[in-house]
C-alpha cells in the first residue's frame, strides 16, 4: 500500500503507516509507550530551550513610562505632566459633549453593523477629513488630486506614509526636526527610511533656530523628504511665523524636497481650525505635492480610539488613484482595514453643521484653558522672582512647553515635588490646573534656585 494514496486507504491505515514510519525513523524520539508519553520523556522544552531565550527586556518607553512611574507614586500632591492628553480643571480626562452625542446616535441606530471597513477605511470620514485639513474649497480636493486613507491616529498615518515612501519614492531619507516627538525616528526607521535631523530648537532663545533650519534643509539632498509639524510643535511648542513658513516653503520647493506634515493639533494650537492648517494650505496652494498625517486624538479627545488619516496630495487625479491602490497594499498586511468606531464618531460630527459648530466651541474652550494655564504659570514664576526669562512659556504654542529645565532639575522635581514629566524638560500644559500651578511654580523655582 502506498501511504500517499490517500483516496484509497482508510484513515486508520494511514495513521498506522505514518506511525510505523516515525517509529522506524532514526529521527524519532523515544520509542514505545505511546506518542504522548514519549514526548514527555524526550521533551526538549525543559529549561533553556526557547527560541526566544535570548530576548532582552526592552527599556520603558520614555513618554509612556512617565505615566507608569506616576501611577506608582502614592503622594497626594503628585502631578502628571507627561503624556499629551488633555485634562480638565479638575484634572480629569474629558470626553467632548459632541462626541457623547455622536456615540449615542451610533448606539441608537440599530441598522448599524460592525462589518469590515474597506482597506482605505470609512470613505465619508476620509472625504470630510481632507476637507477639514485642506479646506473645503481646496483646489487639490476640487481637482480630485488628493487620496485620503483612514489610519490608526497620527502614528498609523505616519507609518503607512513612511512605508509608501520607502517603496515608491526615489529618496529614502527623511529629515526630522531636532528635537521632535520621541516616536518619530522609530516610526520612519521601521518603515524603511533613514532618518536625519535638521536644526529646529534654539536652547539659548528657547525659540526657533531659523538660520540653522534654513542651512540644514538647504544642504539636505534634492528631493529629500522633510517632516514638518503643521502647528504646535511637539515637544517645544515653538512654531515658525507665517513669514518664516513662507521662506521654508520656498526653500523646500526650490530643492524639490517632499514635505510630510504631521498635524496632531489642528484647532488645539490657536483655537482656530483654519489658522492651524495655514502652513499646510500654503504648500498645497502652490500646486505641489505633499503628505499629511492627521490625528483626532487630541482635538476630538478620541485618543484611545486611534482615529487618523493619511492624505497624499498629488499632481493629477490619475496619479492619486494609483497612489491609493498602492497604499492599500501597505495596509492590508499590517491590519487589513482600520477600526470603525472612532471614525464613525468623527464622520457624524463633521457632517452635521450643528455638531461641527459645537465641536469648534468645545475645542476653543480646551485651547483657551491651555493658554490660560500658560499665563498663570508665567505669572506665578514672575511672582516668585524665579531667575531666568520665562516668557517662552507664553510664546510657545499648543499642549506642550519646553521649559528649558535639564534632566537633573527634572529628576529633582520628581523626587522632591512629585512632578512627573519627560526628562527633556517638556511639560504638558493640559495637565495643569489653577489649583496645581502654584505647586509646579514652587518646584521649578526650587529646581532652578538650587542649581545656582
Amino acid at each position: 500500500m502506498n501511504p500517499r494514496d490517500s483516496s484509497s486507504s482508510s484513515p486508520s491505515d494511514r495513521r498506522l503507516s505514518a506511525l510505523a514510519r516515525h517509529l522506524s525513523s532514526p529521527s524519532a524520539g523515544g520509542v514505545g509507550g505511546g506518542v504522548s508519553r514519549s514526548l514527555a520523556s524526550s521533551s526538549s522544552f525543559a529549561r533553556g530551550d526557547s527560541v526566544f531565550s535570548h530576548v532582552a527586556r526592552a527599556p520603558e518607553d520614555p513618554i509612556l513610562g512617565v505615566t507608569v512611574a506616576f501611577n506608582k507614586d502614592p503622594s497626594p500632591v503628585k502631578l502628571n505632566l507627561g503624556v499629551g492628553a488633555y485634562r480638565t480643571e479638575e484634572g480629569k480626562p474629558l470626553v467632548l459633549n459632541v462626541v457623547r452625542q455622536a456615540e449615542q446616535q451610533l448606539i441608537n441606530d440599530r441598522a448599524r453593523v460592525k462589518e469590515y471597513l474597506p482597506i482605505v477605511g470609512l470613505v465619508e470620514f476620509n472625504k470630510l477629513s481632507a476637507k477639514l485639513i485642506f479646506g473645503a474649497d481646496s483646489p487639490a480636493i476640487l481637482e480630485n488630486r488628493v487620496t485620503t486613507v483612514q489610519c490608526l491616529s497620527g502614528t498609523g498615518s505616519l507609518r503607512v506614509g513612511g512605508e509608501f515612501l520607502a517603496r515608491h519614492y526615489h529618496q529614502h531619507t527623511i529629515y526630522i526636526p531636532k528635537p521632535t516627538w520621541g516616536n518619530h525616528p522609530k516610526v520612519f526607521t521601521l518603515a524603511g527610511l533613514s532618518v536625519k535631523y535638521y536644526r529646529y530648537y534654539d536652547p539659548a532663545t528657547r525659540g526657533l533656530d531659523f538660520q540653522g533650519l534654513l542651512e540644514d534643509l538647504g544642504s539636505a539632498p534634492l528631493g529629500a523628504v522633510v517632516l514638518l509639524h503643521a502647528c504646535a510643535h511637539n515637544p517645544t511648542g515653538v512654531d515658525p511665523t507665517i513669514q518664516q513658513w513662507e521662506q521654508i516653503r520656498q526653500l523646500i520647493r526650490s530643492r524639490r524636497q517632499l514635505p510630510f506634515f504631521d498635524s496632531a493639533y489642528q484647532g488645539f494650537a490657536s483655537g482656530n481650525l483654519d489658522a492651524d492648517a495655514q502652513s499646510i494650505r500654503s504648500f498645497v496652494a502652490d500646486g505641489g505635492e505633499c503628505l499629511v498625517a492627521q490625528s483626532y486624538a487630541k482635538n476630538m479627545g478620541l485618543y484611545g480610539e486611534r482615529v487618523g488619516a493619511l492624505s497624499i496630495v498629488c499632481r493629477t487625479a490619475d496619479v492619486a488613484g494609483r497612489v491609493e491602490s498602492q497604499l492599500k497594499l501597505v495596509i492590508r498586511p499590517m491590519y487589513s482595514n482600520p477600526p470603525i468606531h472612532g471614525a464613525s464618531i468623527v464622520a457624524a460630527i463633521l457632517r452635521d453643521r450643528e455638531m461641527y459648530n459645537e465641536w469648534t466651541i468645545e475645542l476653543k474652550a480646551m485651547a483657551d484653558r491651555i493658554i490660560s494655564m500658560r499665563h498663570q504659570l508665567f505669572d506665578a514664576l514672575r511672582a516668585r522672582g524665579t531667575p531666568g526669562d520665562w516668557s517662552h512659556i507664553i510664546k510657545q504654542i499648543g499642549m506642550f512647553t519646553f521649559t528649558g529645565l535639564n534632566s537633573q532639575q527634572v529628576a529633582f522635581m520628581t523626587k522632591e515635588y512629585h512632578i512627573y514629566m519627560t526628562s527633556d524638560g517638556r511639560i504638558s500644559m493640559a495637565g495643569l490646573s489653577s489649583k496645581t500651578v502654584p505647586h509646579l511654580a514652587d518646584a521649578i523655582h526650587a529646581a532652578v534656585a538650587r542649581a545656582v
Binding site: 483516496s7 503624556v83 460592525k114 483646489p139 502614528t155
Partner: protein, 403 residues
C-alpha cells in the same frame, strides 16, 4: 487652464518666487503602478458595484443571517449600551487592554491554565488576526532573523503578504488534497520532517481557511509529535474559535494538544467572526515562554514593535470584549449566540449538499459537510467561478472558496 490661473493668482498673493515648485514640478509618483485588487476584498468591491437584484456575495468571510444580513450579536449590543456614556477614551497601554487580554488567554489556553497562573505567556492586544500575525512576523524577523515560515497550501491569501512585508522568507507545506478534497496528511508529515530543524510552522487551529479541512485529533497528535522531534516553532492562527464546532473548548483542541506536548507556541486570536466585531479590529497575540521573566521581556519587545506602528491599540472593541467575557451572564449569552451561528453554518452545509445531490449532480459533494467552518472549498476552477459571477451574479473568490 483654470489651474494655471489659480496658481498664478496664489503666486501673486504668496509673493515672489512661489511660482517655483508649481508649474515646473511634475509628480513624484509618475512611475507608481496601479496595484492589483485584493483577491478577497476586491470581490466585495465588485459585488457592491453590481446593479443586479439577484446578486449574492459569498466572497468575504463575514457571517450572514438567514436573510443575508450581517449580524450584530445581542451580547455585543448590550455591552455597547453599558459602555456608551460611561467610559473615557484615554490611551490604552501599548500592550492594550489588560482585562481583554486576560479573558482572551483563558479562551485559548483554558480557564485554569497553569501557563496563565505561572505568568508564562507574553500577550498583547492586536489589530484582529491580521495585526496579531503581523506583530508576530515582525517579532520573528527581529529575534529569529535566520528563520523561515512554513505556510500551508492553500491558506488565507494575506498570510503570504504579512510575512513578506515582515521580510521573513517563506516556504510552503502540503495541506489540501484536491482529489479527496481532504487533508494531504502524508505529504504534510513529510514536509514537517524535511524542513530544517527549528523552522516556524503556521498552523490553522481550526476551520482552515479557505478549505475548511482540519486534521483529526489523532492527526493533530502526530503533527505535534513530529514538530516536537524537529524542534519547530508552531504558530497558530485561530480566527474561528467557537465558529467551527459551536464549542470554543472543542475548537481549541489542537492548541491544547500542543500545550500538553510541551511546545512553546504562539497564537493569533481574533474576535472578528466569533463576536461579530469585524470592523472593530480586536485580537490578541500571545507567545508562551519558559518563565515569567522571559514573558515580561518578550512582551516588552512586542510593545516596541507596536509603538512605531500604531502606538497603542483601539479601545472600543477591547472594551466590548472584556465587558462580555467579564460578565457571566453576557458570556453565557455569547456562547449561545456563537453556537447558533455555527449551527446555522452546519445546517447550510447540509442543505447545500442535499440540494446539489437532488439536482442530480454527477460529482461527489460530501466534502461540503466534511469540511468545517465558514468556508467551503467547492473545487471549482477560476473559469467556473468567473462564469458564476458573470451569468448568475454570484461573487466568490477565484479559488472556488464559498462562504
Amino acid at each position: 487652464m483654470a489651474a494655471a490661473v489659480r496658481a498664478g493668482v496664489s503666486g501673486r498673493i504668496l509673493g515672489r518666487g512661489s511660482a517655483v515648485g508649481a508649474r515646473s514640478m511634475s509628480s513624484w509618483w509618475r512611475s507608481v503602478e496601479p496595484a492589483p485588487k485584493d483577491p478577497i476584498l476586491g470581490v466585495t468591491e465588485a459585488f457592491l458595484a453590481d446593479p443586479s437584484p439577484d446578486k449574492v456575495n459569498v466572497g468575504v468571510g463575514a457571517y450572514r443571517d438567514d436573510n443575508g444580513k450581517p449580524v450584530v450579536l445581542e451580547c455585543v449590543r448590550e455591552a455597547e449600551r453599558r459602555i456608551a456614556g460611561n467610559q473615557n477614551m484615554e490611551y490604552l497601554p501599548m500592550g492594550g487592554s489588560v482585562k481583554m487580554v486576560e479573558e482572551t488567554l483563558k479562551l485559548a489556553y483554558g480557564e485554569d491554565s497553569e501557563f496563565i497562573k505561572d505568568k508564562r505567556i507574553a500577550a498583547v492586544q492586536a489589530l484582529s488576526g491580521t495585526g496579531a500575525c503581523r506583530l508576530f512576523a515582525d517579532f520573528q524577523k527581529r529575534f529569529s532573523p535566520d528563520s523561515q515560515i512554513y505556510i500551508p497550501v492553500p491558506t488565507w491569501a494575506n498570510h503570504h503578504n504579512i510575512w513578506r512585508d515582515a521580510h521573513v522568507p517563506q516556504r510552503t507545506y502540503h495541506y489540501y488534497h484536491p482529489e479527496s478534497k481532504g487533508l494531504d496528511f502524508a505529504a504534510l508529515m513529510d514536509d514537517v520532517k524535511n524542513a530544517p530543524n527549528g523552522s516556524f510552522f503556521l498552523l490553522h487551529a481550526c476551520a482552515h481557511n479557505p478549505t475548511g479541512v482540519d486534521p483529526s485529533e489523532d492527526q493533530w497528535r502526530e503533527i505535534s509529535y513530529q514538530i516536537k522531534v524537529k524542534g519547530h516553532f508552531p504558530f497558530f492562527d485561530m480566527a474561528y474559535q467557537g465558529f467551527a464546532s459551536g464549542d470554543p473548548e472543542r475548537d481549541a483542541k489542537a492548541i491544547r494538544i500542543f500545550l500538553e506536548d510541551g511546545h512553546a507556541i504562539g497564537i493569533a486570536q481574533s474576535y472578528a467572526k466569533n463576536m461579530g466585531l469585524y470592523g472593530q479590529r480586536v485580537g490578541c497575540l500571545s507567545v508562551l515562554c519558559e518563565d515569567e521573566k522571559q514573558a515580561i521581556a518578550v512582551k516588552s519587545q512586542l510593545q516596541q514593535l507596536a509603538r512605531p506602528m500604531y502606538s497603542n491599540p483601539p479601545v472600543h472593541g477591547a472594551l466590548v470584549v472584556s465587558t462580555i467575557l467579564g460578565d457571566p451572564e453576557l458570556k453565557s449569552l455569547w456562547l449561545k449566540e456563537v453556537k447558533v451561528m455555527a449551527d446555522r453554518i452546519i445546517g447550510m452545509r447540509t442543505a447545500l449538499r442535499e440540494n446539489l445531490e437532488k439536482l442530480g449532480s454527477p460529482l461527489s459533494w460530501k466534502h461540503i459537510t466534511e469540511q468545517i467552518g465558514m468556508f467551503c472549498y467547492s473545487g471549482m476552477t477560476p473559469e467556473q467561478v468567473d462564469q458564476l459571477t458573470k451569468e448568475y451574479h454570484i461573487y466568490l473568490t477565484r479559488n472556488g472558496r464559498i462562504r
